[in-house]
């Protein structure tokens, strides 16, 4: 039960964090200048967007949940399960960022879910 909760946090909080960071970076604007000083300015600007801090907090929560679940379960079980990020990412991208998810991408997500189910059943 605890492992399921931790895996849920790894996937949902990790993807949620990435979505928040994406939102923040879209607000900052496209990066076209890759000189160190310009990149430093972009980072400073990004740090002023509250979505960035929400995103970083969620990603930190996902990382510590990953560490906790790795203390219970094998890495060869945990890491393939975290591929559910792709499912969460497709849903989050569609509903929070307004991205268009192609049928082919949904098919890929479905295949990932089938694989995750097999990995879960294979452990029992």
């Amino acid at each position: 039960m605890l492992e399921a909760l931790l895996l849920f946090l790894v996937v949902v909080s990790g993807t949620g964090g990435e979505i928040c960071v994406t939102r923040a970076m879209k607000r900052v604007g496209e990066v076209t200048d890759f000189r160190p000083l310009a990149i430093a300015r972009v980072i400073l600007r990004a740090m002023k967007v509250s979505w960035m801090w929400i995103g970083i907090s969620m990603m930190a929560l996902a990382f510590f949940s990953l560490l906790a679940v790795l203390s219970i379960e094998n890495v060869s079980f945990v890491v393939p399960i975290t591929a559910l990020n792709y499912a969460a990412g497709a849903l989050g991208g569609k509903f929070f960022l307004g991205e268009r998810v192609t049928p082919r991408r949904w098919a890929g997500v479905l295949i990932v879910c089938v694989g995750v189910t097999l990995v879960w059943l294979g452990k029992r």
Partner: protein
């Protein structure tokens, strides 16, 4: 050497770094956490002590360093290669994690588990092979 040839070489080197260091980082984190003890028996009052054990583990720091190496390679490759090229190629990392877990950590993996991992790789390959941008730039 032509510039397209050197670009290919650069891309393959970065992919190799990604495919090796992401799984290595996860495996090292796994090994480090095994020495900390199972989270099933943790109580909230123990968390500061557990955090200090985590931060003292060499394996954890090596794992974090490996994941950072992966991340830098990932960022660099995305500066010239398409996301829809990089993501499917990196799906192989899931298989490498399982191989490292099996051979290096001695984890048991059932045939059904292997089948699941291969199917997940296939799914990630299909997901990644789709257009990386579907929204207009703002």
């Amino acid at each position: 050497m032509s510039s397209s040839h050197s670009l290919h070489l650069k891309t393959y080197c970065m992919l190799l770094i990604m495919v090796l260091f992401a799984p290595l980082g996860n495996v090292l984190l796994g090994k480090g956490m095994r020495s900390v003890g199972s989270a099933v028996s943790w109580t909230p009052s123990q968390l500061p002590h557990i955090l200090s054990l985590v931060l003292k583990s060499g394996y954890i720091w090596l794992g974090i360093a490996s994941l950072l190496t992966f991340f830098v390679a990932y960022m660099l490759i995305l500066s010239w290669a398409d996301f829809s090229y990089v993501q499917p190629a990196s799906s192989i990392t899931l298989l490498v994690v399982a191989l490292l877990g099996y051979f290096y950590l001695g984890e048991r993996i059932s045939p059904l588990h292997w089948a699941g991992i291969v199917i997940i790789c296939l799914g990630v390959f299909v997901v990644g092979n789709t257009p990386p941008r579907t929204t207009e730039a703002r």
